[in-house]
């Protein structure tokens, strides 16, 4: 007889595979989409620190674009972004607009 599925589960639903959340693309939850306006960016990396996911791409210490596979559109990055001279370097736009 086949072993039932419930017998094969890890006790306590502990996930033993590190980084497995990368398999779950959560970008489809998004209704608002952050847009980066590069000319207003002062590279302070606040957006990278504050993003509750890992959706702000940083390469060689420089902020690049967004990873929209995981960005949920929460808007925290846009809120925290100081921008340049009062002009935000991140704006939230309606998804699909």
């Amino acid at each position: 007889m086949k072993e039932p599925l419930w017998k094969k589960l890890t006790p306590g639903s502990v996930i033993l595979e590190p980084g497995s959340s990368a398999k779950f693309k959560t970008g489809s939850w998004r209704s608002m989409r952050p847009r980066w306006i590069e000319e207003n960016c002062i590279q302070c990396l606040f957006c990278w620190i504050y993003c509750p996911d890992m959706s702000v791409i940083v390469e060689d210490g420089k902020r690049k674009g967004f990873n929209y596979d995981y960005c949920k559109g929460c808007g925290i990055c846009a809120l925290e972004c100081p921008g340049k001279k009062g002009n935000k370097a991140i704006v939230m736009e309606k998804e699909g607009s």
């Binding site: 599925l5 419930w6 006790p11 306590g12 639903s13 502990v14 996930i15 033993l16 980084g19 497995s20």
Partner: protein
């Protein structure tokens, strides 16, 4: 051989925790909690244990911190009572679902409203479905012994579940009794070293606790959790047998008192069993075959074993020190579950007693036994559920 002392239930259980010396204890040590944790905190202040004490802002946070510490890999204990346990309720299910063996003595006290902090079982009965193992204690000695055994039961590699060690508020927690302590070294050897199977602090093997699991696998996880509970009974008996070798004190899934040849019996938890045993003796002296069954392990409930012990009776009264309003008392429901599997189905009654610390006196047990004599003769049951010990 340890020493014999005169202590309260709280002192005895705090002493057991000192002897076990857990890694972490998170608590909210003011009312509704009792002086149990206050006493344990003194051991920490006096440098008698290495336990890291986390003082938190609520019982909800106390259980949350215990869950974090247990997932990290620590041996964890806390204690609570009454509303404190009620406030932990949400986190209790997480401790059990995550399979974290947190050991928690609970001083059984009433729930508001009206406000009352005296002894009854409303608090832990409200938590009976949380996935915790529950052991009930009649005396300070039993509470001390159960607390030590709880570490071995909960931390057993096949089990890994949290355990509540219940004792009656005030009647046991605040009353001085004779208690035999084990030697520190005996307790240390008995509980042994604890090794968490999946500690978060093992950073070479990163892991996650508490994932989102929806309609795809939640049902299967609950099935697996039920399966663990089916293994608890044997571990409880195995630990009890080792404990008996060490202490000379015998424990099982429940205790029976003059039950083997009894015709009528009371089923009752914790301290009230002591009073009932006295009344059993008086009825035996009168030639009436009275007996008693006192469950020790309430979760998981040992239905088959209880059924085997009760099947020869002519009438049974189940006394509950907690109520399910609009339903039967929680212990009665379990005994009904046990009786269901019997070929003989003795008539049963449910009597609610002692809520909010109302004294349970011998005359209450006498009235119940007198009623059982009538039921045994006629086979006729009047009201199934009634309150006893009500003031006129």
């Amino acid at each position: 051989m340890g020493k014999i002392v005169a202590v309260t239930g709280n002192e005895a259980v705090a002493e057991s925790l000192r002897q076990v010396n857990p890694d972490v204890c998170a608590a909210y040590p003011i009312t509704p909690a009792t002086d149990l944790m206050q006493r344990f905190s003194s051991f920490i202040s006096d440098g008698k244990v290495d336990t890291e004490m986390v003082l938190v802002e609520s019982e909800h946070s106390a259980m949350s911190a215990c869950i974090g510490a247990a997932a990290a890999g620590g041996r964890v204990a806390t204690a609570t009572s009454s509303q404190g346990l009620a406030l932990m309720w949400e986190m209790l299910f997480i401790a059990a679902g995550d399979r974290l063996p947190i050991i928690m003595p609970v001083v059984n006290r009433a729930l508001s409203a009206p406000l009352n902090i005296h002894g009854d079982h409303s608090d832990t009965m409200g938590a009976r479905d949380s996935g915790w193992i529950q052991l009930y204690s009649e005396t300070a000695q039993e509470a001390y012994d159960n607390a030590i055994q709880a570490f071995r039961i909960g931390e057993h590699p096949d089990i890994r579940l949290p355990v509540m060690v219940c004792m009656d508020g005030f009647i046991v927690s605040h009353s001085i009794e004779r208690v035999e302590y084990l030697e520190d070294s005996e307790v240390k050897n008995f509980v042994g070293e604890y090794r968490q199977v999946n500690p978060l602090l093992d950073i070479d093997h990163p892991k996650s606790y508490g994932p989102l699991i929806l309609t795809d696998l939640y049902h299967e996880y609950k099935r697996a959790q039920h399966e663990v509970m089916t293994k608890v009974k044997n571990v409880v008996l195995e630990v009890a047998s080792d404990f008996e070798k060490l202490s000379g004190r015998k424990y099982g899934l429940f205790e029976t008192y003059r039950l083997e040849d009894a015709e009528i019996a009371i089923v009752i938890l914790s301290s009230a069993a002591g009073t009932t045993k006295d009344v059993v003796d008086r009825y035996r002296d009168k030639g009436i075959k009275a007996g008693l069954l006192k469950p020790r392990m309430f979760r998981p409930f040992p239905y088959e074993d209880v059924a085997a012990a009760l099947r020869h009776l002519k009438a049974i009264a189940v006394l509950d020190r907690a109520d399910s309003f609009g339903g039967y008392g929680p212990l009665f429901s379990e005994i009904c579950g046990a009786v269901m599997s019997m070929d003989t189905k003795p008539p049963m009654i449910n009597r609610i007693y002692g809520l909010g610390g109302r004294d349970y006196m011998p005359d209450q047990a006498e009235k119940v036994f007198d009623e059982l004599i009538g039921i045994a003769e006629t086979g006729k049951v009047g009201a199934i559920k009634e309150y006893i010990g009500l003031r006129e």
